[in-house]
Amino acid sequence: MAKPKVALYWCASCGGCEEAVVDLAEDILKVVEAVDIIFWPVAMDFKKADVEGMADGEIAVSFINGAIRTEEQGEMVKLLRRKSGLVVAFGSCAHLGGIPGLANFWNRETIFERVYKGVPTMDNPEGVLPQTRTAVAGKELTIPEFWDTVHTLDQVIPVDYYLPGCAPPPDLIMNAITAILEGKLPEKGAVLAPDKSLCDTCPLADSKPEKLSLKEVKRPYEVILDPEKCFLAQGVICLGPATRSGCGERCINACMPCRGCFGPTKGARDQGARSLSFVASLLGIEEEEKMTDEEVEKLIDQIPDPAGLFYMYSLPSSLLRRRIMK
């Protein structure tokens, strides 16, 4: 019997998700034994035409990482969708928009202005900006269009499952592949990670006081964090309470608070709004009634970039999706 065909593709991402596949280490051999990788541009030499040449649904599963922000990415994922039985959004960017999704605080024009003209290291005296069509030596060159808005994968094509994380950890990847091979998949649309929030598995959970209160907010560089004590109890914002578990607590174990790459839990729609809400609930609760408006303002100002902090990985997937530029 022919082995199931698997495609791996990347869009707007850093390449970390590709690394995550390599991080399977010797387990990758088991994967290769069980499946045929028919498309993996980062590692193997296949072309778009090879995919186009396949029958619809011929690919058992496509793992697609990265956010969708160009015309080319849109076209490729639509092609893969057509050819695949299952599509898995692989990693934070495909799942939620990820770090590239923070570009939704700007638009194409302001990004181009900054990147091609504004940055001090840019040498572009004529102020040339990327154009979709350019005449060169009597011929016309085209490049794909750069979109105003960064999209999650499921805003462009239907997605069957999500593998969260920046990048997804090897054990969750192996679990997902095993589940697909064995046909033991959960309900369509499921996130292939536990339903609870990170506090559930956090190694510092026992050090968390029963009553939390944020008297002041410090940023990680401003304090020497006690690696054995709940970061929130130390006044440093950790998004663990609002973030799905399953990451293996990699950041926590490295003494860094959670920044939310696993996205919201099963019960939450908007991770940023939930994060904002729980932090606001805990901020200054002990002295709340006695605080003046100025003191409240001062406390809130200790979070210099709330939108960037609370929506670090999830802006395109949020209720807000993007900033409205006028």
Partner: protein, 644 residues
């Protein structure tokens, strides 16, 4: 299975019918998925309307009901009962307000009708998602906590206990009886206060259904009327209440002497002490701030002297929880400290006393055994009372200072033959039926009442004290041996802390706010929490006792053993499949209704305490906390239709 939804649009006579095209709203409703019946009625809240509604529910086998009518505040309960009457869970009803929110807010029928249609769609979408909620009942706790054992607290305790109620009487100090137990004679009967109180105090200590907890503090309260859980701290006494017989063998050997706060600092006491002779219960306490041993030093004097092995240096504070149905606060008041008003010289000059200090000098269980003496041990030959000290600063007349000053003047005249007594007053307040009489008596005995303009100043010369004052627009002065100030009454320092624990309001002067100053002076806005005595405002013993009795009576008539209490049905629930145990909800619940299940590592809502405020639902970072009847899905469904 698809729901069978019935939509009923009320015309409210002309109120809705004249402004909104009800027929088109009904037609709109008919077009919504799962709506099997859509009808209008002229007045749905009428008897005929209710019959019509019930008949429609029965006939149509309806599983959800939407009523578009007036504000739910008016008749939602009635419509819920109507649903319940025909076997439909009342929480499967959704009302939407097309009168106040549509018909009455625009003169334009087209706008009103369009908005009514959109609200009906929203309510119908929401109704589909609503779930039945079962009402729960618990049996009330008939026991009562009384805080403070002064005359008001005593009266309340004994009244309740007489009807067989279990009463926890919590007292902050080591002995019961409050301020009253520290007076000798009281206005205006000149009855001996300790004698008057003694039988009551004995009864409190001996009655089986009264648990008097002295040297204790209220630490926390959760729950609501009929179902409070109170947390009480029993402070370490270091003397066993069971073993000690009150022989007082331990006092003499104790090497520590500090000033005795129960004698207003006019006497000394030891680190192991009872507040005053005859204080009940007759069991000493060790003051840990001053005991050499408890401060880490070497001393066993009291332990060695105790013939009953009652001293226990390892004693520790204990926290106890009690369940009660009601709470009476009778925490009393204190005296304004006049040292902040420099003109009276209090705290700077010897022989300038407060009324309470003179009470202690006069008391047979006080520092001088009842002799009224100057600092140097002589009897005063002349005494001046200054009334209304701090009245302007505090902004209220304390109402009792005139009485006790007149009383003390009377006692001075009795005890010290020939003593000259002067009373400087601006206004006299002796309102009750017998109060004038003692005043007339002391005037007859030669107490001179001098009406001044309130500008008294006390200074000192070589011989004694001088009161400078202004009367009849002339500045005058008077030399005396002793000056007695009558300071204003202010709330006990603990009042604000207790108000915060119970979440009840204070008035602008810092006393507990009453539910109604005339009709319910002993109630608070929080059901099941009462106030009695001077913690509500300054008053005399008689008024304090009356309030204690009133609060107890109210409890006896309302909090009946065996009665059931219906719990708030719209509470929060936490989905343990999602909850990560972050403790956010526990930290912010205003009713302490959420706790942590250590085994499952999740938060759990106690639905006997939850009042459905939704604070946890908004704060929950995972979406595990959900408000019954107000789920995100229900709210989103409504919003979606309204903004469509």
């Amino acid at each position: 299975m698809a729901e069978r939804i019935g939509v009923f649009v009320c015309k409210c006579g002309p109120n809705i019918g004249d402004r909104i095209d009800v027929d088109s709203v009904v037609a709109e409703a008919e077009g919504i998925e799962d709506v099997v019946t859509a009808k209008s009625h002229n007045l749905l809240c009428s008897e005929d309307g209710i019959r019509f509604l019930q008949e429609e529910i029965r006939k149509g086998g309806l599983t959800r009901v939407v009523i578009a009518a007036c504000t739910p505040k008016q008749y939602e309960q009635k419509f819920m009962r109507a649903c319940e009457g025909v076997g439909l869970n009342p929480y499967l009803l959704q009302m939407t307000n097309i009168r106040e929110q549509c018909a009455w807010v625009t003169p334009d029928p087209a706008q009103a009708t369009a908005k009514a249609k959109s609200l009906v769609r929203a309510a119908t979408m929401r109704a589909t998602l609503q779930e039945p909620i079962e009402k729960k009942e618990i049996e009330i706790h008939p026991d009562v906590l009384v805080v403070g054992s002064g005359v008001a607290g005593l009266e309340a305790t004994l009244t309740l206990a007489q009807k067989g109620r279990k009463v926890y009487l919590l007292e902050k100090s080591p002995c019961i009886g409050g301020l009253g137990a520290r007076f000798e004679e009281v206005y205006q009967t000149m009855e001996c206060a300790p004698c008057m109180l003694a039988p009551e105090l004995q009864e409190v200590l001996q009655k089986e259904n009264i648990e008097a907890i002295t040297y204790g503090e209220l630490e926390g309260v959760v729950g609501s009327y009929g179902n409070f859980t109170v947390k009480i701290r029993r402070k370490a006494r270091y003397v066993s209440e069971e073993a000690c017989i009150g022989c007082s063998a331990c006092f003499e050997p104790c090497p520590v002497e500090v000033s005795n706060e129960f004698d207003e600092g006019l006497s000394k006491r030891k680190a192991i002490y009872i507040p005053f002779a005859g204080a009940l219960p007759n069991v000493p306490v060790i003051d840990e701030a001053n005991c050499i041993k408890l401060k880490g030093g070497e001393c066993n004097a009291c332990q060695e002297a105790c013939p009953f092995d009652a001293i226990d240096f390892d004693d520790q504070d204990r926290i106890e929880e009690k369940r009660v149905g009601a709470i009476i606060l009778a925490t009393g008041s204190t005296q304004f400290n006049p040292s902040s008003l420099a003109q009276y010289g209090y705290g700077r000059f010897d022989n300038v006393l407060t009324g309470l200090e003179l009470e202690r000098l006069n008391a047979s269980n006080g520092p001088t055994g009842g002799k009224i003496l100057l600092k140097d041990g002589r009897e005063p030959r002349s005494v001046a009372f200054v009334y209304c000290v701090g009245r302007k600063e505090k902004g209220h007349c304390s109402g009792i200072c005139c009485m006790y000053s007149v009383k003390l003047a009377h006692l001075l005249k009795e005890k010290i033959p020939g003593v000259e007594v002067y009373s400087f007053y601006t206004d006299l307040c002796l309102p009750k039926k017998e109060h004038q009489r003692l005043y007339e008596e002391v005037v007859e005995k030669g107490v001179e009442f001098i009406r001044s303009n309130g500008s008294e100043r006390v200074s000192r010369d070589g011989k004694g004290l001088v009161v400078e004052y202004k009367a009849d627009s002339t500045s005058k002065s008077l030399a005396v041996d002793m000056v007695v100030l009558a300071p204003a009454i202010e709330p006990n320092p603990d009042t604000a802390k207790l108000a915060a624990i119970l979440d009840i309001p204070l008035d602008e002067r810092g006393f507990f706010s009453e539910e109604h100053p005339l009709m319910k002076s002993f109630g608070t806005p929080l059901e099941g929490v009462f106030i009695a005595g001077c913690c509500q405002g300054p008053k005399d013993i008689g008024d304090a006792v009356a309030q204690g009795g009133a609060a107890a009576g109210r409890i006896l008539s309302r909090l009946i053993p065996g009665e059931k209490l219906e719990l708030e049905p719209i509470v929060a629930v936490i989905d343990e499949e999602i909850c990560g145990g972050c403790n956010t909800c526990i930290s912010i619940c205003p009713y302490s209704a959420i706790s942590r299940d250590e085994e499952k590592k999740v938060a759990v809502v106690d639905d006997t305490l939850c009042r459905g405020c939704g604070t946890c639902v908004a704060a929950c970072p995972t979406g595990a906390a959900r408000a019954k009847h107000f789920t995100n899905e229900e709210i989103f469904a409504e919003i979606r239709e309204v903004v469509r």
